[in-house]
């Protein structure tokens, strides 16, 4: 019984994570400006990765595999936003202007 609940939960997490990754990718394709695309990737990618890894952890049970997945989640949690921050800093340094609405001045 408990394994059935864990299975259903894990599949929900996996599907939810995959959908978020897809939404993030579509956002990267369709947003008009570099900074908004950056925003889409960083948020959706980290959330999608977290959900997918949680789903895999529930499939793995309590073993070394779960520890490695936890380690991977911890690495992604730290390096993802840092890379995005470095990217935004570099773009600002080279004077890439964000797209601002002209009516609000």
């Amino acid at each position: 019984m408990i394994s059935l609940i864990a299975d259903i939960l894990s599949w929900t997490c996996l599907l939810g994570g995959a959908i978020f990754l897809l939404i993030g990718a579509i956002g990267v394709l369709r947003f008009p400006d570099f900074y908004s695309r950056l925003h889409a990737v960083s948020i959706c990618d980290t959330l999608g990765a977290g959900l997918v890894l949680t789903g895999l952890m529930l499939q793995g049970g309590l073993s070394l595999v779960t520890v490695k997945l936890l380690l991977m989640f911890y690495f992604l949690l730290f390096t993802g936003p840092t890379a995005v921050h470095a990217l935004a800093e570099a773009a600002l340094q080279s004077k890439l202007k964000p797209l601002v609405d002209e009516h609000e001045s």
């Binding site: 599949w11 996996l14 599907l15 994570g17 995959a18 959908i19 990754l21 897809l22 993030g24 990718a25 579509i26 990267v28 394709l29 570099f34 695309r37 950056l38 990737v41 990618d45 999608g48 990765a49 997918v52 890894l53 895999l56 499939q59 793995g60 070394l64 595999v65 490695k68 997945l69 380690l71 991977m72 690495f75 992604l76 390096t79 993802g80 840092t82 890379a83 995005v84 470095a86 990217l87 570099a90 773009a91 340094q93 080279s94 890439l96």
Partner: protein
Amino acid sequence: MYVVITIVILIAIAIGLVRAFRGPTLYDRVLAANMIGTLTVLMVAVLGFMSGRPEFLDIALVYVLISFVSTIAVLKVIALRSNATAATEK
């Protein structure tokens, strides 16, 4: 049903590739490369579970670290290059 997840991630990688080819500025391409790196990590983890071999997780861990260092290196080179061109423009 791991195949469904893998196919969704592959579609996301293909969309990211479109951005990598089109992206008007260089930073768009770096962003696309970083995103494809994260998606590849997740796909390798799911493929590992699909074929019943949890050793693939070592590969996924290596990718996470390597893609991070590679992104930082690209940004450093771009910054150095723009410093150099700014210095020669004066």
